[in-house]
């Protein structure tokens, strides 16, 4: 059974800190790994990674995938209170219909 595990489940830091969120996975015939940010409502897309070792970057957020060790990290530098959210990792395997398997999420709280 495909599985995605995120850690930590919860993290509280001060504004300006750097955080690293982890996502490990076991999936048949890996295709892609996606990161989403979920504030009060719907998850919104951040990154998709398909190739190992390539860093995706958007402002203060960056992510890298290690296909050999089956994990990804999401880094946020110089955190702001607006970064407070649940961060979800999802993996697409080869089971068809482009289905995603989601991890439990990491709840990140940034205190001023």
């Amino acid at each position: 059974e495909d599985k995605v595990v995120q850690s930590p489940l919860s993290l509280v830091v001060h504004e300006g800190d750097t955080v690293t969120l982890n996502c490990s996975y076991e999936v048949t015939n890996f295709r892609s790994l996606l990161w989403y940010k979920q504030e009060k409502k719907a998850p919104t897309f951040l990154f998709m990674l398909t190739s190992s070792g390539i860093e995706k970057k958007s402002g203060r957020l960056s992510s890298i995938l290690d296909k050999k060790e089956l994990f990804s990290i999401l880094n946020i530098t110089a955190t702001q209170t607006g970064d407070s959210a649940i961060y979800l990792c999802a993996v697409a395997g080869a089971k068809g219909a482009q289905k995603l398997v989601f991890g439990q999420g990491t709840r990140l709280t940034i205190n001023p």
Binding site: P43, A97, Q98, K99, L100, F102, G103, Q104
Partner: protein, 112 residues
């Protein structure tokens, strides 16, 4: 474009009642999905559809039914509501060949 829309936003049901959660998208996406999200958990796939007239079960389909008569609409039916179905329900859609899914704002359902 409105994107993915869901109605209602909130609903309280009594045990044994039935209801339909509505989902519509105006992006001409082939694929549509229904997820539920329990507190502190990630998203679990209930049902999905790869096109009008084609639906299939996801990870947690028991107690639910779906139909897809048009490309735009993908309603989720709860026939005999149970407290275990208390959750937040998200509808999502994607283009054929792309893993990024676009999410609706969610429906918060309480069964008492």
């Amino acid at each position: 474009n409105a994107g993915v829309t869901q109605t209602p936003k909130f609903r309280i049901l009594k045990i044994g009642q039935s209801m339909t959660l509505q989902c519509a998208q105006d992006m001409n996406h082939n694929y549509m999905y229904w997820y539920r999200q329990d507190p502190g958990m990630g998203l679990k796939l209930i049902y999905y559809s790869v096109g009008a007239g084609i639906t299939d079960k996801g990870e947690v389909p028991n107690g639910y039914n779906v139909s897809r008569s048009t490309t735009e609409d993908f309603p989720l039916r709860l026939e005999l509501a149970a407290p275990s179905q208390t959750s937040v329900y998200f509808c999502a859609s994607s283009y054929y060949g792309e893993y990024e899914q676009y999410f609706g704002p969610g429906t918060r359902l309480t069964v008492t």
